[in-house]
Symmetry: C2
């Protein structure tokens, strides 16, 4: 485990990366369903069986791509946050816009993670950390604005205790200093955000919504409002 572990390990890393790159390329052009190990190997000038030294199965390759994709959206969200100002609503919508932008640029990768779960029907455990990043970014925005810019119970009937229990559990494991009801509201907004993005990416808005930029901006602001962020003029 020295810092320079010989040509072998180095080569292994490079080949692994090359495989993922080529797989991502095919993913972008053909979609996940048509991603073929043999085609990837062929394009890389290796025989298909050699590829199995790096990924034990097609699903394992896909899982690796899934984790990378989660990290990519997460990074996009965090990067947008770094470049945003201090106004809570602006920070919130910046995260939303970043997610949408990444999704529109990488529709197939987006479909891989937020569309139908392709392998096994349950996302592998290894993905959860990366998958949480966008949610954490959203929570961070509201947390930074708390308590000044957040109205804890925004004109809503009180939540049932089971939901509050979930939110309280979340509050403790994430060590977040937001009240449980706000956290529950963020969870809903989190899911709703991806509903908006998915409908656009997957073509559900075709012939329904055409001014998608403006529509999304409005909806993202509405989500900010739902989680208690004070929009201008209220």
């Amino acid at each position: 485990m020295s810092v320079i572990q010989g040509a072998r390990e180095r080569a292994r890393r490079e080949v692994t990366a090359a495989i993922k790159d080529e797989a991502r390329r095919q993913l972008a052009t053909e979609g996940a369903a048509k991603l073929s190990l043999r085609a990837v190997a062929r394009e890389l000038g290796m025989v298909s069986s050699a590829l199995y030294r790096y990924f034990p199965s097609r699903d394992d390759l896909l899982t690796a791509l899934i984790i990378d994709a989660y990290d990519a959206v997460g990074e996009a969200a965090e990067h947008a946050l770094a470049g945003a100002g201090a106004a809570p609503v602006a920070r919130w919508t910046a995260v939303c816009r970043a997610v949408r932008g990444w999704a529109l640029e990488h529709p197939h990768e987006y479909a891989l993670i937020y569309g139908s779960p392709v392998p096994g029907y349950a996302a592998p455990q290894a993905t959860t950390a990366s998958a949480a990043r966008v949610g954490l970014a959203l929570i961070g925005v509201v947390e930074d604005a708390y308590p000044a810019g957040v109205s804890p119970a925004p004109a809503a009937p009180s939540l049932p205790h089971e939901v509050l229990d979930d939110a309280e559990e979340l509050r403790k494991t994430l060590d977040v200093r937001l009240p449980a009801p706000v956290l529950a509201e963020i969870a809903a907004a989190w899911a709703e955000l991806f509903g908006l993005v998915s409908f656009e990416v997957f073509g559900q808005f075709n012939r329904v919504i055409e001014a998608r930029d403006a529509f999304f901006a409005r909806a993202a602001t509405r989500l900010a409002q739902n989680v208690g962020l004070a929009v201008g003029g209220e």
Copy 2:
């Protein structure tokens, strides 16, 4: 084209239905990715090439299943509406619950229509009518409540004109008597509803939200509130 068109056409209908049934069965157990024409044919006691007399390709079979699935959710929504009372919010949440219930009962069929679009990457034109049914049900609920129970511009910044143009277009083609801003709000809620359902069905709520019934009920009520329906005590 008489009313009884001989044994041939009758047989054709039955075989077509049997193929779709068997395909749906395999879809439910294995998922769309593993749906195999040969396996369907095998299970039906026919040879694979014979199946091509009924569906020219695998994607065509999937498209047929997609349309059926859209109609099934739509019917679930409409049926729920028929059994709901007169209170607008209750009617709205009844549609939401029906969609969620159907999705949880038929996760793979749900994934087929609201997950990654499997064939060609664009839903065929033939699906649009069936795909619209849930949205139309939601619009119907708000329209029935209008104008008494709807606040047209619920504490929101005025919409940009492009969004209003889209909504106005929609208003005319659907011949609906709701103001354009309300229609735009419904479109957002429509997408957000499926965001909530997708996150639950696709496992994104695992280890995050456990009290899903109550959580969803709350979120659905929030959506009703967003479109301007007056929730109790406001």
